[in-house]
Symmetry: C2
Subunit: 450 residues, 2 copies
């Protein structure tokens, strides 16, 4: 009998999670993984902290090295970019950058885990030296090297999303005079404006010059290097810049092969990570995911989802009964000591989705108010005004506040109402929480109104 | 029309929560509250931290003063102990310690919120000076005064429950050479032995002499004061001792009036906090609570439950449709930097309840392993072997580990299976968690086996 050949395109979280499951559960199969770079299975979310100097060894971001994957029996081919997909012949076209040659590789079943790429600005000067994105280990190493060699004193961050906020923390930590420019009216569009305002205050208190409503129209150069960013709202000096204006899925292979794409051109997958083509699976930042509150698939690329989808994908390839039940839109980050988290829908998102919403906010403390180390935290809860069902929550606050979003994420997954939520048996002792957890206090404000 | 008179017995969390709701929602009613001491609405759980010196102002533990309650319109009578309950005549018998007189007070409806009292040791020497319990603000103030005046250098903690662990932290923080004696074979019987072992190691590493399997048989005196504790397993020096061997409900009033008692003689209440007598409610540490995993009412006295029951009790008195759906057995504490939490059933409890269980433990980190400040945490998950339904979890670990128990508590409340639990959309970023949250990793180990 012919040995089954499973080909994985992409050597990061989703792809190698799938590869590892297949390797473990289908010892008879041949598992080939193509990776464009020389790195596998690294923590993309850790890159800003490498730039900050909080993580000093790049190798520590690597969860599993190429050698470890090979030892496990995966035929891992680095510097190998898949440039074409021929579904009729069940072959991929591979560009081997090392040998500088193209070849075709046959497969029985295929996993697309091609990830995402940073969106770019179509403005003059965008290719100047000193302008970086931060989406790969190589990006981070290049930026870190620039900071060491050029020793800039001023920096610009373009974009106030998660990456922008985290890079701003890194720049401030390195003592750079930092300007953050954001095209829309607020940072973190994944928060409501009132909650984003709390983050904006933290940025400004840390000395970041924050400029919102300022789309970038170009970069100015001095000596071939970036010197400033030009926006519709002024020109701001920066000897280094990071552009973090979101990502888009690497779904061209799938599109050109005729696979169904979904939200924002992500590859559409079902709960077993199967695409519209019978022998092709997809997982991670190139794919969409079912949003349990919205009731439809969306593009919401995150490392944690990539790992879960990769696992489900591998289990399904191996014939195990795994299902990825979807996401609820949970995300977390921080700016220095300020923690920022969200789950479900924001007020704005809930209204846009057609819900009649009721919202409640509360400012409380992370510990009992009298306990040393208690810091502020603000919680906003969004619920369906008719049924009282929880729809989402946002948290901005000091150390110890952010991970409380998990309680709401779990309650959302269970479809709880406010009334069920407020009587949850949550852990209380003075070093950990006020007697009523702040997430519950916010929900209580609403429960009275529903 | 006669004004309705609602009488509350007990001026702490449960009683005054109920009183406040009634006061707010039934402006026509007369609300009388009797409190034996001179304090109301204080944070009993904060007492060990007052002893530790972490909380320096006793007044900060008071959530609401007697004056505030009176301003709100509650007829609060301090130093007034209710000594009898006459259901036929709808009267309570009150001992006014200030005026040194007894009187009868009529009521239309009654709330029993009499709390609990510390269990005592029936051994020689138990009344010596220098032996304390820690169950009231007066207890804490007396102990703190003793520590200031006598300046002991050695201390004994009798009992390794929550209070014992917290007092040990306080004594170590004050520089006392501390011995903890525990009658059973482990500290924290609310944890399985393997998890309690982690706490025991932390105690010993902090310099606490830990003696288990050592029931106390007496105390030795020197100059009329405690000098040592005598156990079946040795005699240990201590110029001060705190006895924390659990509490029992103050349910004698209810019992003598013929009300139904439940687990461990707690007053049995339904989900509206109604007792077996038509016009009598009960809430807090004197009452039982429905345990959602066990499917029966148990005595599990905690401040957080007292607050919730008090609220429900008050809402029900006011005719609002409130229901307390019960507890799942969540609790949290710490010993210095070691956080300790549990929810649901331990392995031992689950087996005792007749479940066929499967368990999984994992040692992980609170943050991504490469992130500064990442510390260890061990999670143990217990599930039903047949259905895969989650039954409970325990956490012992460094700062940032304990409150993760809330995620499990919420999942337990929703009746989730391991398979549902492991795909929860929990918050991930390197400063907050490994990409798979440790509670999920523990559950994943089990999910493979079910």
């Amino acid at each position: 009998m012919k040995r089954e050949r499973i080909v994985i395109v992409g050597g990061d979280a989703a792809g190698m999670s799938a590869a590892s499951q297949v390797r473990r559960l289908l010892p008879e199969a041949e598992v080939i993984a193509f990776e464009r770079t020389t790195h596998t299975s690294y923590a993309l979310c850790g890159l800003p902290y490498l730039v900050a100097g909080l993580v000093t060894e790049p190798s520590r971001l690597v969860a599993r090295t190429p050698e470890a994957h090979r030892r496990a029996g995966i035929d891992l081919r680095l510097r190998s970019e898949v440039t074409g997909l021929d579904l009729d012949r069940h072959e991929v076209v591979v560009w081997d950058a090392e040998a500088r040659r193209e070849y075709r590789q046959a497969f029985d079943r295929l996993v697309l885990a091609t990830g995402a790429r940073p969106r770019t600005l179509a403005v003059p000067g965008r290719d100047l030296h000193g302008i970086f994105t931060l989406h790969s280990l190589d990006d981070a190493l290049a930026l870190a090297a620039w900071l060491e060699q050029v020793r800039p004193r001023t920096a610009v961050v373009v974009g106030g999303g998660y990456v922008g906020i985290e890079v701003a923390e890194a720049f401030v930590a390195r003592g750079l005079a930092t300007t953050l420019v954001e095209g829309t009216s607020q940072v973190l569009p994944m928060l409501d404006a009132d909650m984003a305002g709390l983050v904006q205050r933290a940025l400004e208190e840390a000395g970041v010059r924050l400029v919102t409503g300022a789309p970038v129209v170009g970069f100015e150069a001095r000596g071939g290097r970036i010197a400033a960013v030009v926006t519709t709202n002024g020109t701001f000096e920066g000897e280094v810049a990071v552009v973090g204006i979101g990502v888009e899925p690497n779904s061209e292979l799938a599109r050109d092969a005729g696979l169904e794409l979904g939200d924002r051109n992500a590859i559409h997958v079902d709960e077993r990570c199967r695409t519209s083509a019978p022998s092709v699976w997809a997982a991670g930042d190139c794919a969409d995911a079912y949003h349990r509150i919205l009731g439809r698939s969306v593009y919401f690329p995150l490392g944690t989802t990539a790992n879960k989808q990769g696992r489900v994908c591998g289990l399904d390839l191996a014939g195990r009964p795994a299902r990825f039940p979807g996401i609820v839109g949970t995300a977390i980050t921080r700016f220095a000591e300020t923690e920022i988290a969200r789950t479900g829908l924001t007020e704005r998102e809930a209204r846009a989705a057609g819900f009649e919403v009721t919202v409640g906010s509360v400012r409380s403390t992370t510990r009992s108010g009298y306990f040393p180390g208690a810091t502020w935290m603000t919680v906003k809860v969004v619920a369906d005004a008719r049924s009282g069902r929880l729809l989402g929550a946002q948290i901005v606050g000091g150390p110890g506040s952010g991970k409380r979003i998990d309680t709401v994420a779990t309650a959302l997954t269970a479809g709880m109402t406010l009334e069920e939520f407020i009587y949850l048996d949550l852990a209380y002792a003075p070093p950990f929480s006020p007697v009523w957890d702040p997430v519950v206090v916010a929900a209580r404000k609403l429960a009275r109104e529903v």
